[in-house]
Symmetry: C2
Subunit: 449 residues, 2 copies
Amino acid sequence: MPFEITDIFLENLTTLINSKEEKKISSLFSDVHFADIAEVLEELSFDDAIYIIKLLDSEKTSEILTELDEDIREKILKNLSAKEIAEEVGEMDTDDAADIIGELSNERQERVINALDDDELAADIKELLSYEDDTAGALMAKELVKVYETWTVAGCMRRIRGQAKDVTRVHSIYVVDKDDKLVGRLSLKDLIIAKSDQKIADISKAKVDAVNVKEDDEEVAKIMAKYDLEAIPVVDDNNVLLGRITIDDIVDVLKEEADKDYQMAAGLVQDVDSDDSILELTRARLPWLFLGLIGGVGAFIIMEGFHTVFSKYATLFFFTPLIAAMAGNVGVQSSAIIVQGLANDDVKGSINSRLFKEMLLAALNGAILAIFLFLFVWAYKGEINLALAISVSLVVVIIIAGLIGTFVPLFLNKRGIDPAIATGPFITTSNDIFGILIYFMIAKLILGI
Amino acid sequence: MPFEITDIFLENLTTLINSKEEKKISSLFSDVHFADIAEVLEELSFDDAIYIIKLLDSEKTSEILTELDEDIREKILKNLSAKEIAEEVGEMDTDDAADIIGELSNERQERVINALDDDELAADIKELLSYEDDTAGALMAKELVKVYETWTVAGCMRRIRGQAKDVTRVHSIYVVDKDDKLVGRLSLKDLIIAKSDQKIADISKAKVDAVNVKEDDEEVAKIMAKYDLEAIPVVDDNNVLLGRITIDDIVDVLKEEADKDYQMAAGLVQDVDSDDSILELTRARLPWLFLGLIGGVGAFIIMEGFHTVFSKYATLFFFTPLIAAMAGNVGVQSSAIIVQGLANDDVKGSINSRLFKEMLLAALNGAILAIFLFLFVWAYKGEINLALAISVSLVVVIIIAGLIGTFVPLFLNKRGIDPAIATGPFITTSNDIFGILIYFMIAKLILGI
């Protein structure tokens, strides 16, 4: 089943494009899924991609456009007229149509919407564009199957035959009252099993999960994942049915969210992928590296402050990379556990009890590691005091690093800031500095310098 | 709509449990979704949770059991007899039933399966248990709606009324030939729109996506996400229809996968959450910390090897935390981009072209950072040679760190090892050591020591 883009396929296609064999190209793509065609276009030169888009019929190209990488889509849309875009958009589901029009400049948005044949679609798209990003409203589609509670099963079947044609997938049929307020739902299965003279109100389920149009999209994703929903209706403050969100959109939200957290943990400030330009990648990478540089300069200043210790205990200085690495690693581990717990809503209990637990945990880990380090330094350098000073400092550094790693994301979360920002370079850098400072202070104390 | 667990609710519930008010407890839960009841049980004492499980009817408790945290479920199942478990499992979908029975010891598995009333269910569960973990077979359910290609629409409607009762959600109706080989699919919508005397073969779509029962579950997730599928049929090597996988299971696979990658990047070797015991958390955290310790000892040995330089250029040593941090950060950034690209199948081109791009990128980032460091050291210490030595080394270290970060995940991926393991502590630690070694070597060269 999986379609593979081979070199031979691409070569073949390019030859056909060069000789403008329109029929052969169309038939080459006739059995290929639009998601695969999108991948093929991403491999072609820009002119060839435009040629294909203009060649295939809009029923297919509209789907291809929704699947394309945003950068490439932007370029292609620039090469289409407002009328051509309107034609593509006219074939799309309202949510995809709004997403794509939303990517255009304000002035082009206006022109494309005006070029739409279908006034209802134009109104729907305008409505969807009016919702804020990352809300249920921005995610939902207007397509749904809606019946009135007073209808009978037979009447309902007759009418949804009409409505269902426009809706790619019918998960649920939503039941509304005369004011279009959501009062229940039923499945196609319920409808098929019911007798034809039953009233909709009698066979529908009154309890229906819905989300408010202003709800955050990540919250919608959590609700749908938790309750295993495949579609959820979206209502306004008066419970009037506005649209529905389907699980395939949620899969995208979850993937984006996971990618974003992973990138933040890795110290990338914006969404990049490996094919982006060197300039874009630099913009994503340089800010955290710069923070790391500042941190390193901080560590330098601290170490220089202790330079008089060096004549007697040079070894202390040779262990600073170890101390910094351990402080960073412990901090990242503990913050990652908290960040993930917060994302899954299962961080319970007070901040204090969390910190206490982390202290015990870090003390245990620290003690185990310190024993090994103690034995190594003692065996290698033969100085028991030095070994003791380094290993005791290590335990304290690990405990404090763990506490910082636990506290910072909890604190950010309380302040309404995304705690994921706390993992990665931020924690590593601050723990480097604190770790080295604490290390020298404690070592000095123990060695009595 | 969202059900909130409040302190008052829990207090109220505990009082009812203590006075054994069975009716009141049942009615308290009557309108609560099983996913919410599962969360309530996780808040209760273990005895109280068992009490509730035994009190509520198995239709509800079977759903609750599937939603419970694995640790708590394990404890609860230990307190139920094989017959009681069989009763719960009898109410579940086959995929959930197999998952839960799979968590029991082999001997208990046998006893629970023998205690099932329904021989067909027992056979289905045995079949599902026989598939390897993380394959389509382990993920699929046996419930599906299947019709023969020779049936008419009317006959089909009649018969699927029976089958559909057992299937929670009907996404697609699968069409098979007389040997149960998958030949097409149709939607309930197609069936409703069709005329009753049409043949199934005439209205079904012959092109149907399916996955092999041995396919990796992450691959299934990719296919379903790419093609926006809500369910996919699972077939054996002879194309015989065995079961189907629904998108809600895929949502779980994607979440688990994202969590696993995030944890690997953070240096956690097993799946833990913040509520796990200190011992479990230690087991997850200690291995990578130990690697960090070894790395730190390596850095110590390198620095000691350069200790004669110290008398003249102590400042060099004070910048090792900066060098190590930058090497680590750059390595994590570049490996994260590759790991994510590999996960999304969009790393194209040869390893060499990747490495060349990373070299240019790292050189650009490194040069920008080095200029700042050069100016700082020059201004602070007034030694232009020293400033030059440190900042040139920084550029080289960043380039090499970027190359290692790019190469290692690509290499692991080629070898069939999960590249996600390369981000986090592994890259950080190796880059620390290489970074410090290169730094001193280059600095020595430039300073002519």
